[in-house]
Symmetry: C2
Subunit: 142 residues, 2 copies
DNA sequence: GCTTGAACCTTCAGTGGCTAGAGGATGTAG
DNA sequence: CTACATCCTCTAGCCACTGAAGGTTCAAGC
């Protein structure tokens, strides 16, 4: 029988986050002591590890919900899990492409600033005038 | 004299977002018509473009506030703007490194899934057991 | 058995950066 | 002068947590 604190340490998830996962139905309601404290077992530890690991890989909580559901039904075809992972991969690749463009632009800004007064600062100049950009970049909401 | 809608179109910022920027003090309070509608001039268009462009480059609104402040005081040394850009560049590079590890892992998951039942699905298996991962990855909070 | 104090409980509010919607007022073209 | 696109304010919601207030429970040590 594990306390929430133990679960927290074992998975690297904050206590509040575990309670939050329970609140939104991602974690099941655990058993309680007479005094009302949560007590977990091994299967709940596994489930939280799954969630945590999926989050580290960038899956949204909604995607994780689906993945957990699939994981709970071993006889269903796994195309769906595969599709979710593929979507995530695609998103990661898009983000990388955007970050690459961004990095180019920032590098250019930093290299051109020679350390005078702000009036001559290339950093600010580039930010003022998008037309100076060599790349398309669109980080907002990435 | 530009309406908020015109400003919105010219900068690619949603009308509500412009009002939000005003609310948090990033954009100045514009003039109003007798009826109470906002009217902008060219300098406000420039300011919004600056903000928008900075957001696209991944700067936080707080960082943008600093940059705008620097931009408003042309006689100060520009080390600070330079430092902000450098910090941002560092962050972008860190994010890219993380995404790279993530992509590797996702690719491996997807490639190894041969499309059977969820019981045998490599995607789910990898998510269940972090020790199968070949890379360190930590997307949370990225 | 009793005391201490770390860990637990609930509830609420806040983060960043918007975005959506309700319900009503204004501005402008025909 | 009418139609209706655009504007206004205000409130609430999004994601995925995180922190804090104020109170309770549990386990170890005496």
């Amino acid at each position: 029988m594990l306390t929430i604190g133990t679960l927290s340490k074992k998975t690297g998830t904050k206590v509040q986050t575990i309670r939050y996962y329970e609140q939104i139905g991602l974690m099941p309601e655990p058993g309680r002591t007479e005094g009302g404290q949560r007590r977990y077992d091994g299967s709940q530890l596994d489930r939280l590890s799954f969630i945590r690991h999926s989050r580290q890989l960038g899956f949204s909580l909604d995607a994780i919900r689906e993945l957990l559901d699939l994981s709970d039904h071993p006889n269903r075809p796994c195309d769906e899990a595969d599709a979710i992972a593929r979507r995530q991969l695609k998103r990661v690749e898009q983000r990388m492409a955007r970050l690459k463009a961004l990095r180019t632009e920032l590098k250019r800004m930093v290299h051109e600033c020679s350390g005078g007064r702000t009036a001559d600062c290339r950093v600010l100049e580039v930010l003022r005038d998008h037309s100076e950009c060599l790349t398309e970049h669109d980080e907002i909401g990435a």
